[in-house]
Each structure stands twice: as structure tokens, then as C-alpha cells.
Amino acid sequence: MLDQLTERLSGVIKTLRGQSRLTEANIQDALREVRVALLEADVALPVVKDFIQDVREQAVGQAVLTSLTPGQALVGIVHQALTRLMGSQGEGLNLATQPPAVILMAGLQGSGKTTSSGKLAKMLKEQQKKKVLLVSCDVYRPAAIEQLRVLAQSLEIDWFPSSAEQTPGAIATAALDHAKRHFHDVLIVDTAGRLAIDEAMMREIQQLHQTVHPIETLFVVDAMQGQDAVNTARAFSEALPLTGIILTKLDGDARGGAALSVRHVTQKPIKFIGVGEKLTGLEAFHPERMASRILGMGDVLSLIEEAHRTVDRAEAEKLANKIKKGLDFDLEDFKSQLVQMKKSGGLGAMMDKLPAQLTRGLPANATMDDRAINRIEGIINAMTPLERRRPELLKASRKRRIAAGSGVQVQEVNRLLNQFEQMQKMMKMMSKGGLAKMMRGMKGLMPGLH
């Protein structure tokens, strides 16, 4: 996700670690690097300036007071300043009003409003057991209404029909009335994409806002957006009383600097982030984790949270017990792990959340795509239950049979068995508390984490 920025800052900090003390000159160099890194990450220039100024002031005053090494002190200051810039705490949706609680979605064309509306509806339905109604007020883009209808249908969420002949105001009024009469808890109002400088369209959404009195007005921002994020965010927040931000397309390789810009300009919390093309991909935004992640700490916490949600608890417990008892980790376990990995958004999504320092050391095959997982699953499926429990049985003729059965070369079966053996070793290490040790080691490096 923000890995390029992470790497860049990790690099800066590493060079600083080599210095014996923090001087005016070496803060200057490091800060210049931070500035370039942030600019290359598309953080808007005015935001970068404020940020650097902030960090410089603190660094000069505090360096002597702390007992940390100079490098640690600056990392801590940069980390704190980044956290502060992104908001000091994670905030969810505020739905505390007389139902229906109305959520109004706003943003540029193609920022991901409709998809986010669907994801939000699904989240409210499944995690908060809300009765949600979706309505589209996008009467401009061809088939925008149809898009929301198809999404609503696939998510089994109520959808209020509208048509391109109606005005957005009329649609919203009718939808609100419908939501009231059918006791919906939440009404999500999707709107057309609009340019901040299109005065007529901005007036339209202001009127829409007055019509539906939303308790949440969410600004949807593409994580790939460049320097202009600061201008659009300012224009939208001047036109509408925004209550929060949804940052989309974070599963791409954009450095995501727009997050900082938009947050800085609007001073509104980033409430959710959109990851993944599937409709499961909406995650809560945690500013402090994001700051850690930018500094190279990775987002280990949200990885754990996600694993909790998607991983089959029973399976995971069975595996944990096995490891604890020191029993052998077999191919059957390996397969069920792969299946769970796929459920939690694929390997790529998992890798994203690990600290850059960790993932950089991994072999190239660690970035294999989900199709590779499918192949491995296929190979394991071609084995008998006995073979899965006792992989040592696999000799040449059995391997040939498995290769033929799963449509791969024998070499690929061999490669899988090698990988499996490595994994087995890792599991043994983990059962001896290796992971905990590793985490403790990381904590020592980062003063911001407790």
C-alpha cells in the first residue's frame, strides 16, 4: 500500500541511525529526504511544508531532552507528527440519530463512490446488523443507477429505484420517505461524480445535502490522486459540511500521499479505506497504524484484525493446538492455510500489511499471485489423504501420478514439497516463541510503539 513511502523513510532513518549525534546539518539532510519522499508520494506541497516545519521545530527543542539515540528521537518525532497529521484516533461512523441515518457520498468522477456505497452497506449490514437502503442520485453517467442496483442485488441489500429522468432532489426525497416508512436504519445516498469547479453541480449537491440532512457526509478520495487533492478537498469541504473521508484503491501501488493532503485540508477523519476489487474490501482506518506503516512498521495490527474476521476460527484453533503440542504440520494444514489466506484478500493483501523491513528480506516467490495458490491447492488435492499426512511417502512414481492428476510438471510438485518443508521448519520455530521474540525486537526500534 504505502510501501514505497515506507521504504523511502526507512532508508532516511537508517542513514540517520549511523550518526552519533543529531546536529542542525544532519536534521537538515534527513528532513530534505523526508520532504522529497513525501512529495514523491504525492503529499501536497503546502502540507509537506507544514509537516517539515512542525518536525523541525520539535526536533531542535527535544533532541537534548530524550535519553534515546538521536536517530530514534527523530524517528519518534516524524512518527508523532505523521500520526497527528492523520488524526489522533480512529473514528467509525456516527449513526446516532433518529433513523434513518442518512449517509451522503461525494467526490470526483471515478473516485469510487458507487463501489464504496456498496461496500459500506455490506459492512453496516453484516457487522452492525443495520437495515440499509441504497439509492443513486447519479442521473448523469449512463447506467450509474443500474450499477448500484446490481451491487445492491448481489449484496442482498434494499435498493430504492430511481431513473435518469428524475432530479436528484426528487429521488432523494422519495428515498428518504421510503426509508422512513419501511423502518430502515440507514439510507446511503450515492451521487454523481463532480468537479469542484463545476458551480452548478456543487450547488446541486449542496441542495441535496439540505434535502436529506445527512448525519454523515463522506468525501470519497482516490488514493492515487496527485497534488490537486488539496484543491479538490478544500473546495468540497467549503461547499459541504463533510464529516469524514473514504480513501479508495489503496490496494494499488500508489504511495497514497493524498491521504495526508486531504486529511490536512479538511481536518476530517479518514473513516474507511477501500482495498480489493471484491465487495469485502472496506477496512477501518487507523491513523496511528498508518503512521507506523509509513515509518516502516507495517500494519501488523490490521492484518491480525482482518485474519480474525475471515479466517475460520475452528481451523485456526486446530492448527494453533497442533503447533502448541508440537505435532507435525502436514500438507492438509498447509492447504487449509492457503485457503484461509485466499479468503483474507490473497497473499498480496497480507504482504502489504507487513513492515517493509520484513518483506524486503523475503525471497522473490513470496510475492506470488493468487493463481499460484490455486495451483498449489490443485497439487495437494491430487494427493491421497495418507500422502497429505505423510509427505515423506512421496517418491518418484507417486509424484508422477500427482503431477498428471493436477496437470503440472513433476518439478512443480517437488518445488511445493520444498516450500512445504521450509514452512514446517518455520512452524517449529514459531512454536518455540520465535514470532514473539521477533516482535519484541521490532518494538525496541520504534519509540512510538508501546
Binding site: G112, N231, R255, G257, A258
Partner: protein
């Protein structure tokens, strides 16, 4: 973009349809951002060229998404030229800045020639929300007005109602749209090419689903689409255009790189230039992967999709 050299606001020329009209549209689209920038940089004008002035210029370039690397290169070049020509006034540097940008962007000029094959197959690719389907809708109208027959292939079989969106554009332009109930991108586009051949249609505009370069399975899928298109017609696809949102920051470079590595892009379409975004990342792209820009979108209307002209573009930006 570079309000540095701003004079009095220009009257908008009234003769629409000529290239003058386009410059006016482009300028009026960009006027807003220039207005804002001007305020912050007025103090710099008419002054001497010094490091502070160049720093301000660098910041202006960066704020237009030109990127740190490309901005620095441009500034180094300008500094060298200023020294060798003994220029010490900011105003005198204006033509040099313009020339440097035009020099950088000129290689990207390339009008689309659709007369080389029939049917001429154009494949549109890009990230989610870049404006692929809308671009196809506008281009269909553009080619129809040029007297060519057009057929659309609804190859975005993933996103909800993407097919319906393309069908709506087809109806608006009265051009046939090839769709399939169930089926993948590749087979829809294969069908469309066969249909175009049997109906004697000139141009096939093939839509595809939005995908991020990090979604490796989707990048593999788009490679397959290209292979299948080549099976339908060994010379096709005749153009593979990456649709880029002008709002995109430095990630645009990574998009260009990834899609070019996967598909060998033949051109770019830069959309949404009518907002406050300045699309300066184009300069960074020109420096690293000079893939020509076939069209730029400067407004909502169909005629706002224009061929890219480096000189006009730079004029509109730094005037």
C-alpha cells in the same frame, strides 16, 4: 499551471471549432488553477533570477504533478541556459521554460490514424475509474463524425452495469454494441472483431475492466485478451491505449510502466483535464516512457476530446 508568467486575463476567442476554440476551452478549464497559483507567486515576478526564484519555480512544477525528478532536471536545464545567455530577469526566462516543456512533450504528439486496417481494433485499458467507458463513448461519436462506422465491444465483464453503461453510449451514438450474457473480456472482444469483419465496420472500440497494476491475475488476464485479439486478427490490436486520469499523481508513471510492460502500449488518453488537476505527470512520463498521447479530455462534451498538441498544451498551461 505556471502562473509565474501570468499577464492580464485573456478574452476567450469566440470562433469555436478551430484550434483557437480548443485552446480557449483548455485555458478556461485550467483558468481556475492558474488563478489560485498566481496569488501565491505574484511577488516573484519581475524580480531577479536567484536560487529562491528557482526554488519557487520548482515548487510550482511539483504542485502541478510534474514530479521531483523531472522538475529538478528542467530547472537544472533552465539554470544552465540562463547562465550561458546571461539572463538575470525572471520574465526573460519564460520563452526558455516554454521551449523546454515543448521540447519534452513534442515527441508525444501523435494523431491516431485509423485508416491502415479494417476493422481497426483499439483496445482500451486502465485502472478503475480512469474514464475508459466514457472515452469510448466520446470517441465513437468522434469517428462517426469523421464518416467511419464504429462498433463497441463491452469487454468490461466484471464491474456491475459496465455493459449497460457502454450499451447506453451505443444507443446515444446509434452504433452496435457487442455483449455476452456470460463470458470473459477476451471472448466478447473476439466476437466483436468477427462481427465487425462480417458487417464491414471500420473501427472496433474495445472496453475492458479497470484493473490496478498490483492485481497480478488481472494483469495476466489483460495479456490474454491481447493474445485472443491477435487470434481474431493477426494484425490486431492496432492500438492499445492506456486511459489516464489527469488527477493521478506520480502513480501514473507506475501505471504506464506496468501496462506497457504487460501489453506494449501504443498510446495514452489523458482524461479529466477540465478540473483543477494539471496533468503535469505527463512531463514525467515523457521523460521516462515517451508513449504518445493520442487524445486529451478537456471537458464533458464530446468535442472536448482532442488530439494532443504539445505547443498548445504548454501554451494553455503557462500562458
Amino acid at each position: 499551471m505556471f502562473g509565474l508568467f501570468k499577464k492580464s486575463p485573456e478574452p476567450v476567442p469566440s470562433d469555436e471549432g478551430s484550434s483557437q476554440g480548443w485552446i480557449a476551452r483548455l485555458k478556461s478549464g485550467l483558468g481556475n488553477s492558474r488563478q489560485k497559483l498566481k496569488a501565491g507567486l505574484t511577488g516573484l515576478f519581475g524580480g531577479k533570477l536567484d536560487d529562491a526564484w528557482f526554488d519557487a519555480l520548482e515548487e510550482t512544477l511539483i504542485a502541478a504533478d510534474v514530479g521531483v525528478g523531472t522538475s529538478r532536471k528542467l530547472i537544472e536545464q533552465l539554470k544552465r541556459e540562463a547562465r550561458s545567455q546571461n539572463i538575470d530577469q525572471a520574465e526573460a526566462l519564460k520563452p526558455l521554460l516554454k521551449a523546454a516543456l515543448v521540447h519534452l512533450l513534442r515527441p508525444l504528439e501523435r494523431p491516431l490514424d485509423v485508416s491502415t486496417h479494417t476493422p481497426f481494433v483499439i483496445l482500451f485499458v486502465g485502472v478503475n475509474g480512469a474514464g475508459k467507458t466514457t472515452t469510448i463513448g466520446k470517441l465513437a461519436q468522434h469517428f462517426l463524425q469523421g464518416g467511419r462506422s464504429v462498433l463497441l465491444a463491452a469487454g468490461d465483464t466484471f464491474r456491475a452495469a459496465a455493459v449497460a453503461q457502454l450499451v447506453a453510449w451505443g444507443q446515444r451514438n446509434q452504433v452496435p454494441v457487442i455483449t455476452q450474457e456470460k463470458g470473459d473480456s477476451a471472448s466478447v472482444i473476439f466476437d466483436a472483431i468477427s462481427a465487425a469483419r462480417s458487417r464491414g465496420i471500420d473501427i472496433v472500440l474495445a472496453d475492458t475492466a479497470g484493473r490496478l497494476p498490483t492485481q497480478l491475475h488481472l494483469m495476466e488476464e489483460i495479456r490474454k485478451v491481447k493474445r485472443v485479439v491477435t487470434k481474431a486478427d493477426p494484425s490486431a490490436p492496432h492500438e492499445i491505449l492506456l486511459v489516464l486520469d489527469a488527477n493521478t499523481g506520480q502513480n501514473a508513471l507506475s501505471q504506464v510502466r506496468a501496462f506497457d510492460d504487460a501489453l506494449n502500449l501504443t498510446g495514452l488518453v489523458v482524461t479529466k483535464l477540465d478540473g483543477t488537476a494539471r496533468g503535469g505527470v505527463v512531463a514525467a512520463i515523457a521523460g521516462e516512457r515517451p508513449i504518445p498521447i493520442c487524445f486529451i479530455g478537456v471537458g464533458e462534451a464530446m468535442e472536448d476530446l482532442q488530439a494532443f498538441n504539445a505547443s498548445d498544451f504548454v501554451d494553455a498551461l503557462i500562458e
